[in-house]
Amino acid sequence: MSERKRARNNGKANERVIHLKPPERMKIPRQQPIEKEPDYRVCNFEEVSDGFDVNLASEEALRCLECKDPVCMKACPVNIDIRAFIRLIYKKDYDSAIKKIRESNYLPAICGRVCPQESLCENVCLVGKRNEPLAIGKLERFVADYELKNGNFSPPEIKENKGQKVAVVGAGPGGLTAAADLAIRGYEVTIYEALHEAGGVLKYGIPEFRLPKHIVDAEVDRVKALGVKIETNVIIGRTLTIDELFDEMDFEAVYIGTGAGSPRFMNIPGENLSGVYSASELLTRVNLMKAYKFPEYDTPLKIGNRVAVVGGGDVAMDAARTSARLGPEVVNLFYRRSREEMPARIEEIHHAEEEGIHFHLLTNPVEIFGDENGWVKAIKCQKMELGEPDEEGRRRPVPIDGEYITMDADTVVIAIGQSPNPIIQQTTPGLKTTDWGTIIVDEIGATSREGIFAGGDISRGGATVIEAVSDGKRASRSIDEYLTEKKAVLKT
């Protein structure tokens, strides 16, 4: 593009579209999404937030300052052209708005719901300097839902068929994104997924009331609409190995997006009593296997009257709120630091409190007691105080000598984190990993083995959906470059 042309384009992009003057925009309050009442929602698995309707979305769009240098776009890990899609919402051109988002993020209905916008795009939004920031996430969700409801999705144009095959391992957000991006670039893509359904954590981890499964299925269908094949019930490392994908099945590159799904336990006495679950087990039983509809669905789950959840992240909040919906008298949550250090999203902490979850901060479980039948009956916690900050700047919890509390509990859920699943690392010679079992990648997402790329939780440890999406896109660019070069070399 010539300098002049670029200047002209920029000029156009910087022309303000929204009719209000910036000070007027700043005065409009942030629109609140339609939400179900806590008393109602703790009795079922319906989605808590109904998001924005057309009116709320139109009003919210008016608040955008249309900055010359949109900082929100830079803060977004996949650099969605936020200003552009908000202008399109303002113009009520929702079809173009969703197309605009899809250029950068192929999973908008999902990210609009679960991204921690408050620490990304909305965190830097200039409106937020004086007022509350623009509700970017809710607007993203609005256009994605609008498209879904009106059924007017048309798949983006696919580039010429490159005639090269790429395998993607794991159908989580990272794998789905990499697959979609590669398909659009003209590659023949097959996703191999260990479970019987695609979606990864979106399917088995994040609860229905935050992310309805039909939404995940719809986004998965859109990936399939690009010609991507999804083979479920295939565990790479067991059913097939990565080397077989290369040597026997003619794949020329592989993307590993197998996530960090292996639950960690605390190694305290009583952790194997009946009634003690990992959050992964509890959530998978409920979300993937639909145990909340037992006996219509065959998978059971037993939630008692007094549930104790251990942890302070998104997973702990999801476990607590899921348990609350299964009819106990009380759900207690134990976290070893204070509220400020809780890694969960603010919105989720707020929702959990609204739903009556009791927070016990600065308490750390040290033992679980059982009854004569080996069933949990109580949990003993040590009181903690905050000490010096650790390497990440979070203040370290320090036990207070001799101060303990013991509370009755008949169900305990351990939600202290997940580690990478080691199957692929163990069965792929030459694939370098860290001491924590994550796969090592360089700045373009390439692993230590030629043709193998990785990203998302498997290389980051527990991270976020949007980081997995961003890694999937990076890897697809790198795979495109790698395969294009490989083809060129072969020709010469």
């Binding site: 019987h196 194997n272 998978t284 080691p422």
Partner: protein, 282 residues
């Protein structure tokens, strides 16, 4: 979809099914298992791969009807299909020629011990088989076990076939008569495996038990199958299913396997009721 190619009833409430699953058939080693889900809205349950035929792309499963899912499977016929089958899972049995080994299988556990016994025999071991059942008609895989055992002992609780008593009675006799046993392998109900472990512990006889905890994903992602082995936390689906029987905390596992007792009963009762009123396969 994973079609059932053939199905035979081999004992009351126990069927043998040949299922088409080419990728699994090709990869399977003795000791591996699969996780299956027979129907939509069903449960995922683990089953040992008794045999596999890589050429025809099939695996053989032997299933005893105890709860709803295994009842559904027992009602399946050739032409029906499982909606999901995933595997092969677990670490294969380490097979070496060590000399004399004893393979003890109880009840449907005989279906789990048989592929191990066969592989141990093929590796050149002298195999002493011991299989037990409630009564004569519940004895399974008698011929198959006889083919791969140098010596086969059969016990029934009521004495209607073979030795009257438990597999542990036969084991006592075998240990007494054979001074060169290198290893004992056992699978069956947990109390039986526990009893076998107690018995061989006295003789410091190396014993491996193939455990059967409750499972869900079978890939190490839920922890439902966790067991304590020598005080360490192990996931049976990825670290096992075989462990040193002398180090396994059986009491804890027996307790954990009762977790869903009431729900399972409710589920099975409702299913049986439905079968009765409809009078057909549901």
């Amino acid at each position: 979809m994973y079609p059932v190619i053939s199905k035979t009833t081999i004992a009351p409430g126990i069927s043998r099914l040949e299922v088409e699953a080419p990728l699994i058939a090709k990869k399977r080693k003795p000791g591996n298992f699969v996780i299956v889900m027979p129907v939509e809205k069903g449960e995922r349950i683990p089953l040992t791969i008794v045999e596999s035929d890589p050429e025809n792309g099939t695996i053989t499963l032997i299933v005893q009807a105890i709860g709803k899912t295994t009842h559904i499977i027992n009602k399946m016929e050739a032409g029906d299909h499982f909606i999901d089958v995933v595997g092969p899972l677990g670490e294969p049995t380490p097979i070496k020629n060590v000399g004399t080994v004893v393979c003890v299988g109880g009840g449907v556990g005989t279906a789990v011990i048989y592929p191990m016994a066969k592989a141990l025999k093929e590796a050149g071991n002298r195999v002493i088989g011991i299989i037990g059942a409630r009564n004569r008609e519940m004895v399974i895989l008698k011929n198959e076990m006889a083919d791969c055992s140098d010596e086969l002992h059969i016990t029934t609780d009521d004495g209607s076939y073979g030795l009257k008593g438990f597999v542990t009675d036969a084991l006592a006799q075998v240990i007494d008569e054979n001074k060169t046993i290198q290893s004992v392998y056992t699978t069956g109900p947990l109390p039986m495996m526990k009893a076998v472990a107690e018995q061989t512990r006295k003789f410091e006889l190396h014993t491996m038990a193939s455990l059967n905890p409750i499972m869900m994903d079978g890939t190490g992602m839920c922890g439902a199958c966790r067991v304590s082995v020598g005080g360490e936390l192990k996931f049976t689906c990825v670290d096992g299913p075989e462990f040193d029987a002398h180090k396994v905390n059986f009491n804890e596992l027996i307790q954990r396997n009762k977790t869903y007792f009431n729900q399972e009963k409710k589920s099975l009762d409702a299913y049986n009721e439905k079968c009765k009123t409809r009078g057909a396969n549901v």
